[in-house]
Amino acid sequence: MTVELGHFALMLAFVVALAQVGLPALGLARNDVGLVAATRSAALVQCGLLAVSFAALTYAYVTSDFSVKNVWLNSHSAKPMLYKVSGVWGNHEGSMLLWVLTVALFGAAVAAFGNNLPDRLRAAVLGVQGLIGVAFLAFIIFTSNPFERLPEVPLDGKGLNPILQDPALAFHPPFLYAGYVGFSMAFSFAVAALIEGRVDAAWARWVRPWTLLAWMCLTIGIAMGSWWAYYELGWGGWWFWDPVENASFMPWLAGTALLHSAIVMEKREALSVWTILLAIVTFSLSLMGTFLVRSGVLSSVHAFAVDPERGVFILAIMVFFTGGGLALYAWRAQELRQGGLFAPISREGGLVLNNILLTTSCATVLIGTLYPLALEAVSGAKISVGPPYFNLTFGPLMVPLLLALPFGPALAWKRGDLAAAAERLWWVAALCLLVTLGAYAMLYRGPWLAPLGLGLGVWVIAGAMADWGFRVKLFKAPFAESLRRARNLPRSAYGTVVAHAGVGVMVVGIVAMTAYQTEIVQRMNPGDKAQIAGYTVEFKGAEVRPGPNYSEEFARAIVFRGGVQVAEIVPSKRLYTAPRQRTTEAGIHASWRGDLYGILGNRLKDGSYAVRLYFNPLVRLIWLGTLLMFLGGLLSLSDRRLRVGAPRRVTRDVATAPVAPSAAS
């Protein structure tokens, strides 16, 4: 009964979504205030219906109702409760339901909280948002119905793919989707602005928090996926430049660019046409990400079996929105007002450089990801483009970006002083040099470029600190004055500092992990010892034990450092009962120095085990850095200006305080 209710709510949501498109279209054309106002109700109702639908599916999973085909295929009665719930979106149909629910949630948020938006703009935004909902609801209803019943009720389910039964991966899809779908807000606002033929700073002030929220979710979603791949797959890596990974990374790059160009638009009313284009491109890349993952056209290490018909449907959706958005842009963009002028050396100039580098690097990732498809279509040759391509193209483009990063916030709007900025950053440069030289002196092995990479990371971290130090006049004014300034500094300024420092922290982690990872493989009998990166690992033998829905062959190994026992790691191999599938669980001893990462291999003929050990230096910094970026976004989002929306004051302060405008609110 609940399941039928969910199915019914889903279809009703489709009808309401149609209304959410039709009402504003008619209302805007006829200038009918009533119709335009009704759009808000439609968005709220649609969201409510989808919430009911999603709750119904969740209920079916929680109560293990195997008469529902989707539950039968992806759940099992013996599965822990967390994975029964995450199983809802751990499969194609359920994840698409989560996708439309997220679209509707964002739409409802605009409907509920968009009181200070112009009526026409709000209606147009909700209409576009509704259109996205219509497309994906049709996709679900016609190709991927999660509520399909089975004629006979099976005794038990087939179970969720065991490698998906993991806490980080349970929440990876919701965050990723919130990110993808969150960019639909920017897209809807961009299309609405094109339809209305009007765009201004208020528009940017509206788009920015949504983009920021989407960007934060995507950041944390990608980080969770990468963390999961690191400890769950047992390959000792954290990023493989795999098409599925790139699919989420491209919208992130474009979204990061959008986030920054929206700042220029909000503060200076410049770059409006470019920002609109970027909003369309970012969401198009999100759709492409969905298409690449869901269609399985590309060979991927993270790929799951897929149904080709569904791929075609998503391709059609993607072509419609990307093509439609770009066509509208080509047709209407000239109507929009181009913004103010600025010198190349200025905050705006810095942000433009950021945009050029980010979008170009995004393009190189796009080429690398799609080139195999293109080449196969043209010549029939099958190729794969792997990490060497991306390291060679993406890497060099990141270097100028990171070098320029600390200069950006140090430059004033409109016309900046490069010499003054350099003066503020001299100690940062000195620190960076010191770290680089220190790394050369202490680490003789590894690529010769690696110490420069570490220095670059430190440059970015210290650069962010220097920005904060300048704003609070640290050591330039009495301490009490600095303290007062630190308290009064707007949260968005803290957000910038924290997020930028996060980039640097991540860079240090990536360079250390990539250049200085060590690995050994050894046959081990109980009592055997292995040496790696200053650790001694003593193998204590392996045993078998049962788990809730698997049996596990696990090994104990004692980790010594300097003759002292520091930890015990327990790598294992699990055999899940439903579905019958093996997984490898790494045994990890984590510390700030790095992770000691152990994998239990196969039992060999003589009873010994193949044991693989990695030392991953500073690897935690990669995720710490992304967490800092997320926190930076959160700080910025909680800024008073965005919550209250006090545009006038900020604008005036910008005009009167040319040196550090964003510190002056």
């Binding site: 080139y371 099958k382 792997g386």
Partner: protein, 151 residues
């Protein structure tokens, strides 16, 4: 600075970055891509030992052997030709005889394939698209069990 000069700097920077990117992409696509071949492709195209490529096909039944150490031997087949593969390291959890497989490596002078990487999959029903296409083209395999979308 005049308006024109400002625009010049902007366009110059953009063109410079793009040019750099194009050069990098062109170089990388020339040198850093890896071709995919099935065992019969290897015979037809007469691939030389030492050239890196991806070998894909099905793991031949009964071919997986382990030596005393950490080496694993198996054979990859498209049922027309079969190539023996040597690999040192852990096989992915979903590696099984009769299933599709993709390996990275190069041919040895004796005609065996030395793999340094065996690509792992997340899903039992997943068949790498290159392998699926290649096997379909050779008429060996006509689509496996209807794969259920996951994740």
């Amino acid at each position: 600075m005049t308006r024109k000069q400002r625009r010049g700097v902007l366009i110059g920077t953009a063109v410079g970055v793009l040019a750099l990117a194009i050069v990098l992409v062109a170089v990388a696509l020339r040198s850093e891509i890896v071709f995919f071949h099935t065992p019969s492709d290897v015979a037809e195209k007469n691939i030389k030992p030492g050239v890196r490529f991806r070998l894909g096909g099905l793991v031949a039944q009964g071919s997986v052997k382990r030596d005393e150490g950490l080496k694993v031997f198996f054979a990859v087949t498209d049922s027309i030709k079969t190539i023996k593969v040597a690999y040192q390291g852990e096989l992915p959890d979903l590696f099984r005889e009769g299933q599709g497989v993709v390996t990275d490596g190069k041919l040895l002078p004796d005609g065996r394939f030395l793999a340094d990487n065996v690509l792992a999959k997340h899903d039992e029903n997943y068949m790498p698209p290159e392998v699926a296409d290649a096997l379909k083209k050779k008429g060996v395999w006509k689509g496996g069990p209807p794969g259920q979308g996951s994740q």
